[in-house]
Symmetry: C2
Subunit: 111 residues, 2 copies
């Protein structure tokens, strides 16, 4: 509640892009790395990195390196998260996008 108008508008602008909105919705269900997003969206790897950079700069996502890969997660520890959560709740789950990847053998599993 009571998010500042300017900061809030900034968050909305970031989510106001089909690619970033879908990324966030995917991250809602599972962590994901750049190469997976690159396989999901019909976009170059730099384009994906640049979208993620914006989300990261706004602290909407956090990153964790796991070996060769950098995995991204929703950042639930920010004052913007309640707004983000409420927004994402209005959109259909995107787990299917990851399922497709898995069937194509493109899903990254590591531990």
């Amino acid at each position: 509640m009571n998010t500042d108008m300017d900061k809030g508008a900034q968050v909305l602008k970031l989510l106001g892009d089909r690619t970033r909105l879908t990324m966030m919705k995917i991250l809602e269900s599972q962590d994901c790395c750049v190469c997976e997003f690159t396989a999901i969206f019909n976009l170059s790897q730099p384009a994906v990195s640049q979208h993620i950079r914006k989300l990261k700069d706004a602290r909407l996502v956090t990153e964790t390196r796991r070996g060769q890969w950098v995995f991204y997660s929703l950042n639930k520890d920010t004052e913007d998260y309640p707004l983000v959560r409420d927004i994402l709740n209005h959109f259909p789950g995107q787990a299917g996008r990851l399922k497709e990847l898995e069937q194509q053998g493109l899903r990254i599993f590591c531990d």
Copy 2:
């Protein structure tokens, strides 16, 4: 629930602007006309009209002419409204902006 990603991203992009977001929040409490918005925001009248046009084109607001003035209202009869409502709930009320206008004698009352 289950707003289409593309349409939803478009709505978020429209709200992802300080001016339009504040307009929508103001409209949440009362209908308003262009000249009032022009007094509230430090913007030219055409700039205000152009912002409203976008909101109107997306059917987020509706217009009603009352004599000389055109009043705008939140459109609650659209599939996007639940998303809009949930978003606006995260922001502080902007009734103060209208109160200031009233004190300056700039508030439009008609009927």
